[in-house]
Symmetry: C2
Subunit: 419 residues, 2 copies
């Protein structure tokens, strides 16, 4: 082939393509795949806990009894049996859903992306948390949304501030296309939306006729305390689109998630999914369905919860021991992530470069969680899910060292300027 | 939940969502799943031919030796090993591709959809064949393309007419965002693009600086004659985006396809795929990769080719015996489909309703292959791939009966009017 002229395609790109950006996490994946690096970056479930024997048995049974069907196309919305199993997962969080309100997707990521495709016109506003899931931002900006981010605190989204944004938009005759919220064990924030605020948010949606996009991949992974009701279950006005996934309770490698939505919206999801990739994987659905029949999925979840809880505890203890006292961090009751806050003058993207080079340790810099790619630079997302306890301690120790060096350097420079 | 107000979501839908439509094929799937129906509708590969023992062995090995990795996330662009195997598949059609030009997708459908996402702004023109793949139309219209369809004949796309459309657009300072073409064993047309026209099309792209979107899911399924070079291999100017899939040579139920494209475009595909569904299925890729290591994939393809060839021959013979002499049809040298043309006054959508009700036989009406949803109503797509020979003959016999009845009715009405 001839040498490629990189500019020649410019005239072909759609405007949304110009808005494409990468989520920081995915860029990091190549780096953290190096075995010598301690990665506190990726939100990788601990798939090592899954019984290889059970997997082998399930796959053997599918292969010997159902191979032709497993290898064939299936319905766009997924099998009824898959949807029945999804109702069981949602019931475990106290949420009733009818299978007629479900569509099986290629991970919850596809649920986010289809929501953006369905609902966002260029220039539309959507409201998200600050910080928000770094992987959601490309879907929103791909479709040229104006992402208005409203702060989290220890009780999750500041619904009072979200209300102010909604009212500000209403004064201009506008409305956000949806409010995107991760109520449980927030990625990256590590916090959960309080019960009081859940009621407030659902009421806000009802009052202003808004759609809430509830993304709940981590809800099952609660280490302690009582489960909180989903927004989907609190809503009596068909305002909530609910997203979740088998990625965190079983496997992300099979790429199966789901959307629960009011029927008219679901019909659009179905059309969007047809265009996007025709249907969910038949083989993957059969794996899930046979697994749900033969094993107790909640036993596996309990087992990984024990692992994650222990890892969180080690990370919290290590943070206390090795991080400077100027730093603070969230205390997650579940999920995968702790969100740490460093002094304002620390840029965690620079810090990551140093940490990788000098100490072979990785994390996700905070700015990936803001649509502007700049805010929140003094934050860091620390994932405790995918790394053994000893490595977590060692990783936090090394990070603490780099942070303290950076702070020392800053103090020295400031001292130098003052003298 | 309260009763759903279907209109309440109207204000939220993006414009592209308003353009969403279903591909006829997917709507038919529920109907043709009824066992009493002989379906000549769906383009379902004959997955029954795949050895359940080989599948069981592969899945056992993956489960016992690689379960943690198989269940985990993977890189967005797919594993290098998957891409190496894709180069082998493309090499079997005489096409050289570098793994740096490949991304693994969730079926070739995702390749079509990501192309639309990357390249189409509302109101842009794209050129497609008439008829074109019914499943591609929703991706194009989702992104609000103006789909300009140029006729096929027995030698595939009328490139001379495509050139006229390009020149007409050029006069208005415009350009199609791409020319979408299925060069081998066209779906639904059953024809292949001649070698001469392949050269003409590649030259047209070079001359006018156009992108060709080459969709080649069926190229490996050649029953007779010499393989023709892909457009990708004929292009020396980086103008071709090439799409294909494991669906037809192995399994559609694992949802794995690929895009080969010049590097700058591929980088955009990667960003689009991140937003769409993060990464291809790890488990599915491992299945493919182990299969390519342990078995001879081309032996399997040879085996299914023998089945499909025999089924095509039965369908052609049945068409000759049972269809009226006013009908004509294409003579595919491979793939899944025959495209039949009936007298102008026959509406094949009405015919389908009758055929299903009276004779329990299904096919895809021609109008699904036009973006306007109306043209081509006197055509029908007949799939010979997924039905045993005796049922093919019986199905065509029943269809012939319905068609002749319709023609008789028309003649009687016309006679009645004339008398």
């Amino acid at each position: 082939m001839a040498k490629i002229d990189f500019d020649k395609y410019e005239e072909f790109y759609a405007k949304r393509s110009g808005e494409m950006r990468s989520s920081v996490m995915r860029d990091l994946m190549a780096v953290v795949a190096r075995p010598e690096v301690i990665s506190l970056a990726g939100g990788m479930p601990n798939t090592e806990s899954f019984s290889r024997k059970i997997l082998a048995k399930i796959m053997h049974d599918i292969s010997m009894h159902d191979s032709a069907a497993a290898l064939q196309y299936g319905p766009t919305e997924g099998f009824d049996e898959t949807k029945e199993n999804i109702t069981k997962v949602m019931a475990a969080e106290g949420t009733h859903v009818d299978i007629g309100n479900l569509i099986v997707t290629t991970g919850a990521q596809q649920g986010i992306d289809l929501s953006a495709r369905l609902l966002i016109d260029p220039g539309d506003t959507i409201i998200a948390e600050a910080p928000t899931y770094p992987g959601a931002i490309p879907s929103f900006t791909n479709f040229q949304a104006n992402v208005c981010q409203v702060p989290l605190d220890a009780d999750g989204l500041r619904v009072d501030l979200a209300r102010k944004e909604v009212e500000k938009l209403a004064k201009n005759g506008a409305k956000p296309k949806f409010i995107y919220v991760i109520p449980n064990f927030h990625n990256p924030g590590g916090v959960s939306l309080s019960l009081h605020r859940r009621h407030e948010l659902v009421a806000l949606a009802k009052e202003h006729r808004l759609i809430i996009l509830e993304d709940n991949p981590y809800g099952q992974l609660r280490f302690e305390g009582e489960p909180l009701p989903t927004l989907y279950s609190l809503d009596d006005d068909d305002n909530v689109i609910y997203l979740s996934t088998f990625s965190k309770i079983l496997s992300p490698g099979i790429r199966l998630g789901w959307v629960a939505a009011p029927a008219p919206l679901l019909a659009k999801f179905n059309l969007g999914k047809q265009a996007a990739d025709l249907c969910p994987s038949t083989l993957a659905q059969m794996l899930v369905n046979r697994y749900f029949k033969e094993a107790r999925w909640q036993d596996y979840v309990s087992r990984v919860i024990d692992i994650y809880r222990a890892r969180r505890d080690v990370m919290l203890a290590a943070l206390k021991e090795y991080f400077p006292e100027e730093a603070s961090w969230t205390l997650p009751q579940g999920g995968f992530f702790i969100w740490a806050t460093l002094p304002e003058y620390i840029n965690s993207a620079d810090l990551l470069a140093l940490a990788l080079e000098e100490e072979l340790v990785a994390f996700v810099p905070g700015s990936g969680a803001w649509a502007d790619g700049k805010s929140g630079a003094n934050h860091m997302r620390l994932a405790f899910c995918g790394v053994p306890e000893d490595k977590i301690e060692e990783g936090i120790k090394r990070l603490g060292k780099v942070i303290k060096e950076q702070m020392g350097l800053y103090e020295a420079l400031r001292g130098g300027k003052e003298s």
